[in-house]
């Protein structure tokens, strides 16, 4: 499956998964032929780097990440000495490079897609034109656990629901064997990872400043600025000088570093549920000088935990009365409550149709062809072809609850098949894409590993983003799962003018 690489036009078969670095001069040889044009300068530079230098840079990077405390917590995990649960996300030194012209078209596609998704969510919680038109089946929405009836008829500023959208994109060969980008998944609830995008770039510039003087890499460091602008633009009309806060579940959450990082970079307070309270339908935070009103909440807490009076009654992560203040239009919640109805895997197949329905445009970005097991014909096909397909739970996330047919054992396939048959509406299936790979440092040297890309799209007064996004890499040989909870790593992502 490792035959579609980002750096090389062609990978030589014996080059897969094995080290090519002998004596430090031949690192990038033997792993493939025909360096693709946008990688030429980098590949040449890499070939000139002694192995020992790259190794010491890797150690340096790890040391810095630890000292800075750029870690994530793994639920229930223990280190070998039984103490810490803080892990580093492995950072790979070799950047993932995308030529600027490809990015420009991807960016257009992202603006289009996210715009349509926001229109869709607004529609679902208002007139439901798209359901009336029969484009999306009504039961797909109303039977969806992520559909929040509490949001019906609620108007949100600018009609924007998903202020921060993480769109997962992969590159794979199309029918003609030509590289093409596909959207794998839309993340419209609380997408994470943007801090790694920023820290990875900082690290690369620190370790290899010369690369950035030799190459025209588009900068990303202004992301927190755009984010703050987006959040302020989403403030309710009740104030001219909105107070923005980031709401975190707390320091034991796996993405705590990111919450603290973004709050600090934007210069706003990082609050926990216990810091907030609602009085007369306004939200306040407890400060050393008494209560202070809060206007915009960038929440990194799921809907279910936001307000114990409306959602999960046992939750202490949110704030009682928050929904009341929200519906009164006294506070903005970003992303809005109920966005999950649009990023569910069972809704994903309809996104191209949404784009046509709301915008009257042809979709710029491709969807991966998807079989919905709820359709009897699709189910029949899926059951007959489990070994070739990727089957996903509709509500699964984080790389859990999925079957990668070609990599699974017979028993695993059988078990998963039974689960699908027991609850067909709970599953979708997609052909196993030959996800592109990128040269990556592994134990034995440099080897190709599968990657994806998550750009972060911001919707406020306008839809904007910084060039690129977070590239995740599956460090296990042959693995297609890039999630950090499943042993994935990250790379710096370069949008390169060539």
């Amino acid at each position: 499956m490792l035959k579609f690489d980002e750096m090389y036009a062609q990978l030589t078969p014996q080059g897969t998964g094995q080290s090519q670095s002998q004596g430090g001069q031949s690192q990038s040889q033997g792993s493939g032929q025909g360096v693709r044009p946008h990688y030429e300068a980098y590949a040449k530079w890499l070939a000139g780097q002694p192995d020992t230098v790259m190794r010491s840079r890797r150690d340096e990077a790890e040391m810095i990440f630890r000292r800075v405390g750029i870690t994530f917590a793994v639920y229930g995990a223990k280190d070998e000495d039984g103490s810490g649960t803080e892990r580093l996300i492995p950072f790979d030194l070799i950047p993932r490079i995308i030529p600027a012209h490809e990015w420009r078209s991807m960016e257009k596609g992202l603006v289009q897609r996210v715009t349509a998704l926001n229109r869709f969510i607004h529609d679902v919680y208002h007139d439901q034109e798209i359901l009336k038109a029969g484009v999306v089946p009504r039961e797909q929405i109303e039977g969806n656990a992520q559909f929040r009836p509490e949001m019906m008829g609620v108007d949100v500023p600018n009609g924007i629901y998903s202020h921060i959208s993480g769109i997962d994109i992969v590159r794979a060969p199309d029918a003609q064997g030509k590289g093409e980008y596909y959207v794998l998944e839309d993340n419209l609830r609380v997408p994470s990872g943007v801090s790694y995008m920023l820290e990875n770039r900082k690290m690369m510039m620190r370790l290899f400043p010369e690369l950035f003087s030799q190459n025209r890499v588009a900068p990303v460091a202004h992301y927190p600025d755009l984010l703050l602008e987006t959040l302020r633009a989403s403030a309710p009309a009740t104030t001219a000088e909105p107070t923005v806060v980031v709401l975190t579940p707390g320091m034991y959450n796996s993405a705590y570093f990111e919450h603290a990082f973004l709050a600090q970079q934007m210069g706003v307070e990082l609050v926990e549920g216990q810091d907030l309270f609602v009085k007369d339908s306004f939200v306040y935070m407890r400060t050393t000088r008494g209560p202070k009103r809060v206007d915009v909440i960038y929440r990194r807490v799921d809907d279910d935990f936001l307000d114990p009076q409306v959602f999960r009654p046992t939750s202490t992560l949110g704030c009682a009365g928050l929904m009341d203040a929200y519906r009164a239009g006294h506070v903005a919640i970003c992303n809005a409550v109920g966005t999950g109805v649009a990023d569910d895997k069972s809704i994903y197949p309809y996104v191209p149709k949404m784009i046509e329905f709301y915008l009257g445009e042809k979709p710029i970005l491709n969807n991966v062809p998807t079989y919905m097991c709820r359709n009897p014909d699709d189910l029949k096909y899926v059951m007959a072809n489990l070994k070739d397909l990727v089957v996903k739970e509709v509500h699964g996330a984080g790389g859990y609850g999925m079957l990668v047919g070609p990599a699974a054992t017979k028993a695993e396939i059988e078990d998963f098949g039974k689960a699908v048959l027991a609850n067909p509406t709970g599953y979708i299936a997609q052909p196993t894409l030959s996800l592109s790979s990128c040269p990556t440092y592994v134990e034995s040297g440099i080897a190709p590993r599968h990657i994806d890309l998550r750009p972060f799209v911001l919707s406020g007064q306008s839809v904007q983003m910084v060039p690129g996004g977070l590239t995740r890499v599956a460090l296990k040989e042959g693995s297609l799962v890039v999630n950090s909870s499943q042993g994935g790593g990250t790379k710096d992502t370069w949008i390169l003018e060539i």
Binding site: V68, Y256, F261, Q264, L270, Y284, R286, T287, T288, G290
Partner: protein
Amino acid sequence: MLSRTADHLFWMSRYTERAENTARMLNVNYETSLLPQSATETEAGWKGLLSISELLPSYTSLHGEINARSVMEFMVSDEDNPSSIISCLRAARENARAVRGTLTTEVWETQNQTWLEVNRMLKTGEFERDPGKFFEWVKFRSHLSRGVTVGTMLMDEALYFMRLGTFLERADNTARLVDVKFHAVENEFMGASSEHEQEYDFYHWSAILRSVSGFEIYRKVYRDVIKPERVAELLILRPDMPRSLHASLNEVVNNLGLVASDQSSDTLRHAGRLRADLQFARIDEILATGLHAFLTQFLDRVNALGGRISRDFLVPSVG
């Protein structure tokens, strides 16, 4: 600023200061134990150290017999002992991590680095190989933490709450040290009869001074042989001795004034009164009425002050 943020900052500093003071006392006891002395004297030293932190009962139930090795282990690396150095450094780091966005990068990285290093040192046996060096290191990290705070933090509430934590903790720790060390000398501290006792006394008092970096200061201030009442005066009443009760209370009052709000005027009054009691006291009067009683009352009042600060700023019950 958020009350919870202020709370974390306050406790981060308190735990850092506590770790430092624990290291100071352990170091002096460790060095004293290297001098020729009777088994009873050695044991009394370690026992006193445990009573300073009110840990004698929990130590005894765990280890029984008092010996240097077990006490040091208990006070340094026992994660179940909330007052051990490792526990204090963990708590300091956890508090820092909870508000890392409020700290400057340098302050956070100093805290985090300390935590990573102490784990490494304990794991690799560096502490057992050279306890003195380890204690010096803990002290040094605390100096660094304080220095990087003053040197890089914006001079606003965040800094003031951190300073408040440092000096409230220091006032508490110094008071405990003085109390226990003076208590340890049974024959009051006036009449040293035999030559051995005189020598013992010298080391006893100079150890106390060294544990608060006060040996050279004593010589400079008094230009005299070491006398217990002067040691007490230095550690309690001298406003220019940085680890004295009076100096600590000065800082508490200053920083409290800087964060003052409508609801805190009563707290400021209490702090001011406590400071005034030190400012206008005389050591002979304190000794005449009883040092132990004086210090017990002082500790109670410092404790009450901490409670008030908590109620006014850190864990307010509004809303």
